[in-house]
Symmetry: D2
Subunit: 366 residues, 4 copies
């Protein structure tokens, strides 16, 4: 039996349950969970904000574990055999069909209707398909990456699901050496974006948030300017970005707030002919007023939505984390606390209240 944290229904406390061990199929892999993230999506799951979730579920979509058993010859993405004892991770998005119009023609696989997600769209009745559990079962076909030398499980989970999400957004942003980049929001995704902007050779990185403590973290990672939003002066932070950019606005602005009005402000703080990437709106939080003449056409702007991640973002996350010089980035510092499995409701509460920047579950304490 494996102990797992089960979310039985929205707004109920998460329960610990003993669930049956997985039955290993050919091509399947059983992991002993080392860490699994607790992130904003889990709060949305708890609050019932996402549609189509087959409660009861075992949350935990971003995880790393040690291989306990393998169903025959299975190779990782680099062609190496997956072996008992190896430390591996896997993309939570599974069953992308590679066979539909979105996958094959539009090459927009993050919109594939067949996608399923570990920790989100599998029921706990089906098996151990989430990371808040002593064990995780990887179905045949779930592709794994072996953690490369230099990437500890702690470093990996500190990157968390925010990091590949930010990599996708930065791909869309096409930052050039020397660009001025503004990042709206300094939560896990925003902070990752700010660090990636620095790592993309931006000449100046500006981070905007309403929480001073989050801005302080961003500052500690080397961003050039932080701007606190003052609710009494709602235009002040936009004006401050313009001041810092010769009145022109940032070359690239990336939104990671989930607040509708941030999109209007983000366009205002972007230069004519610049790029504006929207990645923070994973749930519906309302509408804004936009003027197509002033805010799109005359501005000659590119506005780019960014949905989900695919395997390339996930793989490149690991490559980034292992680089010699990139080791200088102390991603580990972004994890505020590790929780035991029986502290899961506390972890969710801390994330919901913003008391922690990033949180992780450690189901099998050392």
């Amino acid at each position: 039996m494996a102990l797992a944290a089960v979310m039985t229904a929205p707004n109920y406390p998460v329960e610990l349950q003993q669930l049956p061990d997985p039955v290993l199929e050919k091509g399947g892999i059983i992991l002993e969970t080392i860490y699994s993230e607790v992130c904003g999506t889990d709060v949305h799951l708890l609050r019932g904000h996402l549609g189509g979730v087959p409660y009861p579920i075992i949350p935990g979509h971003f995880s790393v574990g040690r291989v306990v058993d393998v169903g025959g010859n299975v190779i990782d993405i680099d062609g190496q055999p997956v072996q008992t004892g190896s430390i591996v991770t896997f993309l939570d998005v599974n069953e992308t069909c590679n066979n539909c119009w979105y996958c094959l023609v539009a090459k927009t696989s993050t919109r594939c209707p067949q996608r399923k997600v570990y920790g989100v769209t599998y029921s706990s009745n089906e098996g151990l398909f989430g990371g808040w559990s002593e064990q995780i079962y990887l179905k045949p076909g779930v592709k794994v990456v072996t953690l490369p030398e230099g990437v500890t499980p702690k470093r990996f989970i500190a990157g968390g699901c925010a990091l590949p999400t930010a990599i996708h957004a930065v791909d869309r942003a096409q930052i050039q050496i020397g660009d001025i980049v503004a990042v709206q929001g300094s939560g896990p995704v925003g902070l990752s974006l700010a660090i990636l902007a620095l790592l993309s050779g931006a000449g100046r990185v500006i981070v905007i948030d309403k929480y001073q403590n989050r801005l302080a973290v961003a500052k500690s990672f080397g961003v050039d300017d932080t701007i606190a939003i003052d609710d009494r002066e709602p235009q002040q932070h936009v004006e401050r970005v313009l001041e810092l950019t010769n009145g022109r606005g940032a070359d690239v602005t990336i939104e990671a707030t989930g607040v509708p009005i941030a999109v209007k402000e983000g366009i205002a703080m972007t230069r004519d002919g610049g790029r504006y990437v929207v990645v923070g709106h994973y749930t519906n939080t309302g509408e804004i007023l936009l003027n197509p003449h002033l805010e799109i056409n005359l501005k000659h702007i590119d506005i780019r939505g960014t949905w989900g991640i695919d395997f390339s973002h996930f793989y490149r996350m690991l490559q980034l984390l292992k680089g010699n010089r990139q080791q200088e980035i102390a991603w580990e510092r972004t994890i505020s606390r590790f929780y035991r499995l029986d502290e899961i409701n506390q972890a969710l509460a801390d994330v919901e209240r913003g008391l922690v920047l990033k949180a992780a579950i450690q189901p099998n304490p050392a």
Copy 2:
């Protein structure tokens, strides 16, 4: 002396005036005007919708003429000498500085603050800087293109300023062979876009407008589907596009209406991961409500504003018009009527009321 049509102030009838002949400078060129366009921008000038216009002006920003005199050795863009008797045209946008941050660093020259525009931002007190005149004076530095063989002045003026504008928008749209392209609006720009989409190898081109007669013209150029907007059923045309596209939406949608709500509809008729180009909003006509989650982030869409044209769009317009097979496109048919200089107020009225698709002035009748 040269006879010119002068717009003395907004909302006053245009007057014919005898103005002094230009004084030829070194590098300058004097043209005898063959045709000059009357377009929607001229109606905006008449109604005072544009800021910073130094009335009195000679309108006519898109023109073609015969060289009457040249100030020394002047070469055209292809390096050939400009000679008396040659038929040439020129980009209305002049004095782009090539020396500011927008020109040199951002490479967004259509946002250069120094730009001036023939027929729009020069006063008639300064000289013959508009096409509604027997003569046009090209200042030193105004670069000309000699009309290539196969491009008559009529064919050129039929393309009009709508054609390079549409080329710029199609550059931004990145149409691929076989794409489904929806065009919103079937005025001069929309019609040009529809034809260019066909010429870009689109598999299906859908044109949406409220005027049946305009749609009939689009149809006659070979577009696959036309959809009339029914004001009583405001969602019907969006639904029709979805029906025609397997429920997914067009790969590319291009807006050429100037109507704010069209932007919301255009996003709705574009597929996830598609491209949406806004080129019709040259004046401020109001705001729309947009939902950043549903209409940007989840849709993984690219929204691209397109402001102005540069010399490359203008030059490529002429290359397009001269191509052997491209000759099959009867651009000439888009000109509804040629007017004499003394019919200019009639021409403006006809354009304003939508009685003509494209109109041109012929200041020196054959």
Copy 3:
């Protein structure tokens, strides 16, 4: 039993054999072949130029057929059920794994090591996996496209495998409206490229070949200039392209010859800062001398290799063929002759000798 043309070994005449009917699996499809192409690749197969071919094989990688039987509920790429009697086609490239580093990370699926190809890399001992047969068996997972209205089997096979190959190359070439495009070679791929360049809004399309009859076909499709290579004056055709382009060279040049020296010439006929696409070198025909300073660095050129096709090119081929205005392109004219199954050796000989532009087998004569 099904009659099939089997290539037993390189350089032996193709034999007609009666082979067992396919056993229909769940998800499989049995087709009655309408047409199957005979192309240059088949001559390479006959001559043993390709490695890893499991002779005996049934050639015919590009085919169209009528559905005879379906293994349960199978949907086509557009989500419609595949039904008995429907006319469908399929991408010859099969078993792209969608699970390896090339597919998932590099997104270069045409270099996936798992790819297999109907008509090339399946043995006739395994089943009816080639089009020179009365029937074709589509394994579970082979994705089909239903021929859209307006695309007859004849029109489709006339496009042939050259058309999606050309679409891929044109994607790589990024032709802009008004560009000058030079195409080297006027065989099936070169002719398709020339037509697609016209359909991409090129201002001028120049085709170069050594065969006057092929150039005449290109001319009949509307290309602007054809240039015959004169072996006694090997630089003359390059100089002619420069003459036609103001001494600058084409904006885009695409190679479809398979002749090494053409690559050196192609670079010479491309303008500084232009794009040069190599798509004709599917087999190893030797080396050329290149000067990195003069021909790459100083020229500021982009040279782009183009290997294989994926489902998007294939799907968009069908969209292109069905377009209203695109119907004006008489692709059907490119098929020189249809052969019966028992004329297959004649067909191969005709293709090898260049007596036909495109050839197709009709295994089940009407």
Copy 4:
């Protein structure tokens, strides 16, 4: 009078000459030189390798100085007035015409035939148009950048002309977060490329050179792997890159050697579907044999030449140098030695023999 180092003819020692003070025109600027670079191009000038050089010349194309006098109101690129005492720099490339087909249509301004270059294509008879001089005269129209806070003259000259050249090449390379980047050559451009690759979020940066001391410098800046070329085993370094990349090759390889065979090796060490940028071949050093099938078409590779720099690369260099976190890059360490004006022949000799990594002249010692 101003003391200047004049190269009177190829292969003659550089002479110190007293030259007349510049006559300040409206829009012109007189600088007191702080530093001017001595780079490989200057050795080429000394050896007469470059065509069209109007000896006698004052070399020194990359310089920084203090404003001594300004001809009226002149603004820098950011719109700020240029003032006496300000420390400014300027792009050596001047007189790009912004008026020809290359500038306006092809947007390939680094191939503009009108370009002139300070320190290279002006004669010392014309004026103080090179940096190896106590004073430099900036003609009207030469656009300057004021050194931003945080960028000392020493930091700027340490970046040198290699840095914007490398920025242009990195723009062409389109490095994505996590990519593996191989850099061929570890001279000034190669080292800049390696650092920029790290700053672009590369997961692994591999540098190849034949000089161990240069590789040691690269290593000290944080590159992941350095590989020394062993002339007795010419394939060994290519094989080593393949070993480090799972047998696939680098995602991006950038050439900065000027050695023809490096181009063949560079292609071999790049993965299928990867990008190969050639930036090191500024002079003609011979040819290589290439196989279009194996090395271009089958590899599905992009090969991209990169010629010269424009103002955007130069401007972004300064933005990069000033960034908070980017300050961690000790560009200053790349300057091996500062020379007095009367040591110029020694400086050239040291650069030619590879005794220094970067060298600079300080014409007005503090």
